[in-house]
Subunit: 460 residues, 2 copies
Amino acid sequence: MQSTLLEQLKELYGQSEENALDEFQTFLSFPSISSEKEYSTHLLECADWLMERMESLGFKTHIWETSGHPILFGEDLSAGPDKPTLLIYNHYDVQPVDPLELWESPPFEPSIRNGQIYARGAQDNKGQCFYVMQALRLLKKTHGQFPINIKWLIEGEEETGSEALEAILTQKRQELQADHLAIVDLGIPGPEIPAITLGTRGIITMDVTVSGSSTDLHSGSHGGIVFNPIHALVQMLSGCRDLEGNITVPGFYDDVSPLGENEKGMLYLEFDEKGYLQAFGANPTGGERRLTPLERAWTRPTLEINGINGGYTGDGFKTVIPAQASAKLSCRLVPGQDPQKVGKLVADHLKSLAPEGVEVVVNVHPGSGSACRSDISSKGVQAFSKAYEEVFGKEVRYTYEGGSIPIINALAEASGSEVILLGLGLADDYMHAPNEHFGIDRLKKGALIMALGIDHLQKE
Amino acid sequence: MQSTLLEQLKELYGQSEENALDEFQTFLSFPSISSEKEYSTHLLECADWLMERMESLGFKTHIWETSGHPILFGEDLSAGPDKPTLLIYNHYDVQPVDPLELWESPPFEPSIRNGQIYARGAQDNKGQCFYVMQALRLLKKTHGQFPINIKWLIEGEEETGSEALEAILTQKRQELQADHLAIVDLGIPGPEIPAITLGTRGIITMDVTVSGSSTDLHSGSHGGIVFNPIHALVQMLSGCRDLEGNITVPGFYDDVSPLGENEKGMLYLEFDEKGYLQAFGANPTGGERRLTPLERAWTRPTLEINGINGGYTGDGFKTVIPAQASAKLSCRLVPGQDPQKVGKLVADHLKSLAPEGVEVVVNVHPGSGSACRSDISSKGVQAFSKAYEEVFGKEVRYTYEGGSIPIINALAEASGSEVILLGLGLADDYMHAPNEHFGIDRLKKGALIMALGIDHLQKE
C-alpha cells in the first residue's frame, strides 16, 4: 500500500519538478537576512510570497504581527477532530552573507552546479521549508485533502534567536495546540544515510571577569607583589576540568539523564577521524576521553571557553600586568540539566577557585535553553522513521544534534505536542558560510518523506 | 671635612638655583620622544643643547653617530692616571605622552606646582641627568677641576631599548674604560629615605600559540569532539605555577643565587600594604607566599602572563571554539639565571603540558637581559652611601629594582667597571604616565649627593 503511494508521489513530483525548481529559486532570491535592519522590507516581501503559497494550498493563513519580523501561521483542520494534528515548524530568514568575496556565485542569485543549488538559505532553512510545501501539494493531489490536520508555522527570526516567537507563544497556545511538532531544520550524517535526530543540547552562557588592581601595572616593579589577574583566571578555568576531559565542577553531571542502552544501540555513532581531520584540521581529542567523539558531542554536557582576553595582545611586547582579565564561557546541556542551575554551579565553582587578593565577577546570562529529546517510540518518530526507510530504501538510523535550538522546547510546551526532529541537511552544506548549497535530490527526498510521514500519521 | 664641603656646595647651589631652574625647564621643553619618528629633529636639537653644556664644563665631547638617535660622550681625564675614573650614564630621550588629555599642563611646557616640576622627562631621566650636570658644575667651582676622571655618556634611545648603544659598545671599549659605572636612573623608597639600589632584575620574553583546528568551529556541533585550544592554553599556563605562587617549571630556580643574610639585613623591606592598596587598588598576594612582597619583587624571579587572547571577546556572545589561542609571557630574572636558558626551560615545560591533539608553538624572543647586582662593599657603593647619608642626615638603606635595564650589564662589561645604581626617583613621580613630575628639593639633593660621592671616590 505504501509503496503504491510512494510510486504515485514520485510520479507526481516528476511532473512538477521543473516548475518547482524555478519557484524554489524565486524563494531563494529574497535576501531575507533577519539580523540586518536594512533587509526588513525583503523579509516582508518574502513573507508575502510565502503566504500566497500557503493560501493557495488551502490554509487559513494568519500573519502574527510582532515587534520583529512577521510570523506566518496557516491551519487546515478539514481532516476533522478524529484525526491527529501536526504542527510543522520552518523559518524563512537566513544568515548574513559575509565574507561576500568567498561566494562563487552571488548569494541571492541561485545557481545550479553539479546537482546542487547554491544560494544563502539553500539548506537553512528555505530548502527544507520548500520541500515541506511540495509534500503538502503532493498530498493534496493524492488525497484530495490533507489526511490529518496540519498547522504550519514559518517564522522570520530563527537566525537571531526567535525572540518575537517566544514572546507570543503564551498568547497563541490555543491556535498552536497539536499532537505532533515537526521541526524540519535538522540533518542526516551522510547523503545515503537515512536518520532522524533524537535530541538537541541545551545551552547556558556566562562571562567571568577577574580584577587584580585599579590600573595596569608594570611587570618589573609589581611582578611578584600583585596577583596577576590572568594567572588567577587561567588557574580558575583550568580547575574546571581534569586531564581526562571530565568537568570537575561539583554537581555538574548530577542531573544528567543517561541514554538507555537500547537507545544507544540504535545511534549512528561511527566517526570518521580522517574525514574530520581533513575537513577541520582537528583531532577528536576533546571532551571525556573514555567516550567516543559522537557520544560526547550528542549525549554529554560540555563547558567551553568561547573567548579569553587580558593584557597586551597586539604586535610586539608590553611588560604589563593588566588590571583585569576576562573570559566567556558556555555549557551545552543534555536532558535533565536546568540551564540556570548549571550556570550557578559553574559560577560558584569559579568563585571558589579565586585566589586571595583578586575580585571575581561571574555574570550568568538570562537567555538560555534546556536540551530537547524526543521519544524514539513515539508515534511521530515511528511514522517518519518508516518514511525515511521507504524513501532511502535503507534502515533508518538515529543521531543527535550537539547544537541548541532553544525555541523547540518552548514551542512543544505551548502546543502540548511531542517533538519530531527532521531534516536532510549535511555537515558540508556550508550553512552559515559562503557557498551554502542543497542537493536537488534531497529536495525530492524531503518532499517524499514529509508526504509519506504525514500519511502514516493518519493511521494512529 | 665633608661637612665643610657640603656646606660649601649648598651655598654655591643656592646662588645658582634660580638660573638652574630656568635652564632645566629649557631642557624639559625639547619633545625628545625616541619612539616616534617625527620627533627625530627634536632629539637632535636636545642633543646639541646638551653637548654645548658638556663642552662648557670642560669635557672633550663626541657625538657617536649610529643608526639611531645620537649618543653623547664626554671625557675629562685631567685628574690624571693616578685617580680613578667614573663613567656616568644618563639618557635624554623620553616616553610618549599619550593620553594627552590627562595632563594637567602640557607635557613639554614645564610647570611648577607645590614644589614639583611637571613635564614629560621631569624625572625620567632629564631631572636625574640635570642634577648630575649641576653636581659637576659645583665640583668645578669647589675644586677648580674634577677630583677624579669623569666620562659621561648620555644616550637617546633608552626608552626604546638602547639598541644603537648596545650595537656600538664593542667598538667603543677603549673610550669607555672606567673603574666605576654610575647609572643615575633609579629611585628611593620614600622622599625622606636615602637608599641605593643594589640590583635590577633581568628579563626574557616569549609567546605561545596553541592551535586546535584549521578554522573556527561551532561549539554546539564540535563541543566535546575537538580540544578547545583555549582550554589547552589555560591548562598549560596553569601548570607553570602552584597554589603557593611557586613556579613549577622544572629547573626554573636552579641557578638563582640567593641573597646573603648580611645583604638581606640591610635591605629596606618595609611594605606599606595600605598605601599599596590606595595607590594601585591591589593586594600583595602574588608571587611566592612564604616571602614578603619586596623580597619577591626584588630578589626572586617571576613568570608573568602579560597578554592572553583567543576566541570571541567583543560585545555579546559567540559560541565559537577558536582555531587558535595565544599568550605572551615574560620572566623577570635574578642573578645567576641565564635568560635564554630560562626561556628554553619554560618553553619545554609548556610543550610538555600540551594535551594530545593540539599543536603548540613557543617563540622565545632574542632580546633579553640578565639581572644586575652591585657589590654593597665596593668602593663605589660605599662612597655614594656616605654621600646619601650626609645629604639626608640619615642612615642609608638598600633596595632593589624589580624592573630591568638590560643595557647596564653590557655597559659594565664593555667599560670593565663596577656598577653603582643611583637616583632619587619616587614610585609616584608618574614616570611613563601623564603628569610626570620631579621635586625641586630632589634636584638639589641629587646635585649634592653626586658631588659628594665623586669627591669621596678620589680617596680610594
